[in-house]
Symmetry: C2
Subunit: 384 residues, 2 copies
């Protein structure tokens, strides 16, 4: 299903030889129309990879006929020559498909600071173009994996006859400032660029923007939404936005569930906040607290570490009015000892932390992971 | 030496029974005058432990006759009853020594959210008072250890006849916002509170405030400087400030060198910054990047992770003018590949990262640690 669940799209995934282990590493997703409208959000990291700089330019035109994605190399911090490599990749796709390079988006993921093997990339584009299929979505999703243990896809179908589908990769350096890692969404809804942009920004704000596996923001993050209009149906804005949000939330949850080395998925809900911004600030501070992440790994309901994380924020709260629940046991009440911590059962993979600031009625949910020896091993034993 | 290196101070460290393992856990440092002037800096965490709230009040008077410190319990997030426990501890010290409780500072360290065993604390104060000695500095330094593997002391002696000495503890939750963990400094210089305060704030700003072991700010941090005036010498402000800075830098370096689970000490120097604030922001962002910390643990000169961390800051720089050296090899030049990364030798415990922003002439040094499986183990296997 994935990016070919919606009508008007073909896709493929091939092993181009970019990865030394011979795994699939190049994906192509093509919009066969009739529309070519598109919107995207990109990393807010100021050190941006060449494909991000290129695709930002492409998206200014509001039309994307194809996106080519490679794993096995981020093409970040590679200077003017790296940008030329991205440009050449887009030109090659345009050449093979008979499109304009100015409508070809490029995305890359892998090690920062290494040039791509362009012979492999360019011949891989030819192979991928030859393999394009209306059933190629899953192969494309597989080809963009790096340290992901599984490929990630999601679909939302409207009874009105249109569909939103998508694929994502991401397993580390996962703390989006705007988008996260590589995500391609497709729809056959008949919408213009402005309609896509509104729905996409609303969806990513409360999904990809609220996962924080390891506090590290990538140089390559990109979420691209392409519409073919092939269903001939123009959905209502709210209905479409909800479908995009649903697919984004599904993919974001899958990213957290497959984060590097993680043994727990932590759902942090901040309630009673004066503003949503306060709730997000507090949630993110908890999500990034290494000591708390270790405690969750050890299945230790160490609420003191939650309070010490809240205390570093500028959110509106009084220390003696903070309440914290772990898996629904209110272990901290009024900033002090609450219910018996022995009542907390943390054996399951999903752990729920609720922080009540007692300062208003706003709330937010941030998803995070625990910190494990496996994370350390995966990120110290080799470059990634 | 430690806090009794300067004339006019006695100290002791005893096993009061606060720690279940029977290790020393209560220290007392007494200023025998003739002066009792003092200054302190406290954690900027808004969730403050009871002893921090108490000692902030004491310091407003500018006079401290004694400080009592316990390990084995932070007395943080313990509500009004926890504050009463701190008050009772100060009253007990005042009672035994014949001082005023309003001049007795209290400091605690250990698990958050648990009341102190007050019978043990109060009888421990009596034992500690009976053990006070002009040679008790080392025992006091030992008694404030928690997960520290070694006790930390430092001394600076002026040829003019005055001395600054100190002790510190700290091994985790080590990312001070203002002070760090528990530090007591003493001097026999003849200075008033204002003179101490100026020197202390200048010293902590570039020492304790610039270490960041794990990004986690404590609820209990405190650095206390007490002056007895017993040398009869009033040093010049600059000379005294330098001695205090030297002792603080020495202790801060010892804290980093003994951080929980660490295998590397990382010296991050940011140069070419437009402002010192920019340099500190960039240094701290690098210091807190878990992926980089893992890479350093794996002795991998992964400069891409340095650039991705710099890219998340608001500092003044252009991505294509960033230069990064690891152990003096400039592996990144102009935001792209520089010297051969194979030239970097990272086998030793100290690793030096230099980030040149090419935006000005300001600089700063931040000290950090790597992220290891041992850190995860130490902070997940049991509450601390």
């Amino acid at each position: 299903m994935s990016v070919t669940a919606a009508q008007g799209f073909t896709a493929s995934g091939v092993a181009a030889g970019i990865k030394e282990n011979g795994n699939p590493d190049l994906a192509l997703v093509v919009n066969t129309g009739p529309r070519l409208s598109a919107a995207a959000v990109f990393t807010s990291n100021r050190v941006k990879a060449a494909p991000v700089l290129w695709s930002e330019q492409v998206l200014k035109g509001g039309q994307v006929s194809a996106v080519v994605l490679n794993s096995g190399g981020a093409n970040a911090c590679t200077g003017p020559l790296g940008f030329q490599d991205t440009h050449a990749t887009a030109e090659k796709v345009a050449d093979v498909l008979g499109h304009s390079a100015g409508e070809v988006a490029v995305a890359s993921t892998g090690l920062i600071g290494v040039r791509l093997p362009m012979d492999a990339v360019l011949s891989g584009v030819e192979t991928a173009a030859a393999a394009l299929s209306e059933h190629g979505g899953e192969k494309a999703a597989i080809a963009i994996k790096t340290t992901d243990t599984v490929h990630k896809t999601a679909v939302a179908q409207s009874p009105a006859g249109w569909t939103v589908g998508g694929m994502a990769k991401g397993a580390g350096m996962l703390a989006p400032g705007l988008a996260t890692m590589l995500v391609v969404l497709t729809t056959d809804a008949d919408l213009d660029t402005a309609g896509l942009d509104t729905a996409l920004r609303a969806a990513t704000r409360t999904t990809f923007d609220r996962i924080d596996s390891d506090g590290c923001m990538s140089t390559n993050d990109m979420v691209l939404l392409m519409a073919s209009g092939a269903s001939g149906v123009t959905p209502g804005a709210a209905e479409f936005a909800e479908a995009v949000r649903e697919v984004c939330a599904d993919l974001a949850r899958q990213l957290i569930g497959d984060a590097e080395g993680a043994s727990k998925d932590i759902r942090i809900e901040v309630v009673g906040a004066a503003t949503e911004d306060d709730a997000v600030e507090v949630g993110r501070s908890i999500a990034r607290n290494n000591l708390l992440k270790c405690a969750v790994h050890g299945e230790d309901p160490n609420w003191g570490r939650v309070l010490s994380a809240i205390g570093t924020t500028s959110a509106d709260f009084e220390p003696d009015q903070l309440n914290v629940a772990i898996n629904d046991v209110w272990v901290c009440k009024n900033g002090s000892v609450g219910e018996d911590r022995e009542l907390v059962d943390m054996r399951y993979r999903e752990v729920r932390i609720t922080a009540d600031l007692s300062a208003g009625s706003a709330s937010a949910v941030i998803w995070a992971n625990d910190l494990t020896a496996d994370y350390v091993h995966e990120n110290s034993a080799y470059s990634s």
